[in-house]
Symmetry: C2
Subunit: 258 residues, 2 copies
Amino acid sequence: MENKKRPLILVTNDDGIFAGGIRSLVKVAREFGDVIVVAPDSPQSGMGHAVTLHNILRSQKVDPFDGVRAYACSGTPVDCVKLALFQIFKGKPDLLLSGINHGANNSINVIYSGTMSAAVEGAMDGIPSIGFSLLDHSAEADFSASEHICRKVIANAIENGIPNDTCLNVNIPKLPIDLIKGIKVCRQARASWEEEFDARKDPSGKEYYWVTGEFVNHDEGEDTDVWALENNYVSLVPVQYDLTAHHAIATLNSWKYE
Amino acid sequence: MENKKRPLILVTNDDGIFAGGIRSLVKVAREFGDVIVVAPDSPQSGMGHAVTLHNILRSQKVDPFDGVRAYACSGTPVDCVKLALFQIFKGKPDLLLSGINHGANNSINVIYSGTMSAAVEGAMDGIPSIGFSLLDHSAEADFSASEHICRKVIANAIENGIPNDTCLNVNIPKLPIDLIKGIKVCRQARASWEEEFDARKDPSGKEYYWVTGEFVNHDEGEDTDVWALENNYVSLVPVQYDLTAHHAIATLNSWKYE
């Protein structure tokens, strides 16, 4: 970072500002720079890249991180990033960190993930951005190995920068640090969700659903994030926001549009 | 389509099942096949790829389309697609159509768009999927030219299929059909939103915000969707859900992870 000033680091997440994972990420981030937290005031898992267009946003100064400047925001993770960049900060942060998520965001989960959408939003605004997730949904998950991994990835990001127009999706297996084999750069595995709708009746007899699903990996590749995690590696996937399927353009140009 | 049976077409949107744009899309879809509509019961613009994980979903049979089987769903556009595929349908539809959106979904708006996220969700489940948007936010927008464009694109999709693992993002300029120059296959333009937060006080004196923003195009290319639309073409961008920035993998492999 220029002039060797301490970097300014924005921390956010999707599990909410009072989750355990963000506490670990703030702790590690403070070792590297000056930290500001802008995170949702309630859990926002699965919010993807949603933004609040038809409702108001609120933001409240809170102090759950022992003196770190922190704001709880009523919106989605992407709202939090926009609020931080365009309302709370004067100038851009040097780094955006999102997480540590309670649960996996590998493979296609990157698309549903509020944690990763916050990182993508940061990248879209030109900020080096990283999302971290631990493969443990529990509210009481142990983030001690994750802190070690975050430290390594953040040190590299500050040293080397992050490739333009990308952010990083880091997923950490639920293992003690001495059983984690290392960090593997991967591609996103091909997979899908097979959903089930659990139909119930409310007290008035009207039907409603809970959605539950099963993650199904369709990818045999050993260069995927699914493979890495199954083999006790941390997966690191560079994520881009240019969704153009460039390889399909020639085929589509052969269609008859007249 | 196999055996020349009429294709089964799922129609959804993000403006809600009672919006004008979906009425036009259902009308055109009926010319090509048997239609089922599963769409949000309220406006869901900007919901991106959000899914409802921490709340219940409801679905109600409605009849706004003159005998077409239709369900209004309490969730997001992606919830609607999942509900349609895994609860309402027996077997997969042959085609998923989303829209016609009231307002642009070109460039990076594809990421925020509920309309396009529904199409992406369809593609993830192996269904040929197309999102349509008209560059007119008005509730009373004129969709007559759009219907003509939808007809051409749908005919091509049924004739040729859609390239694997992609869906189509079709944006239509706000022009009468005779002033539209044609359909142009494009890439997503590089752009960003410069947000402004309109801060106000509620009756109790507490601050809240409305987010407003300005779309800023950073891309001079003449092969982009922004260029096409500014030059009176319909833009057609193939969209993929593999977000891996494959070109960045080599750089990241040079980092020091030990």
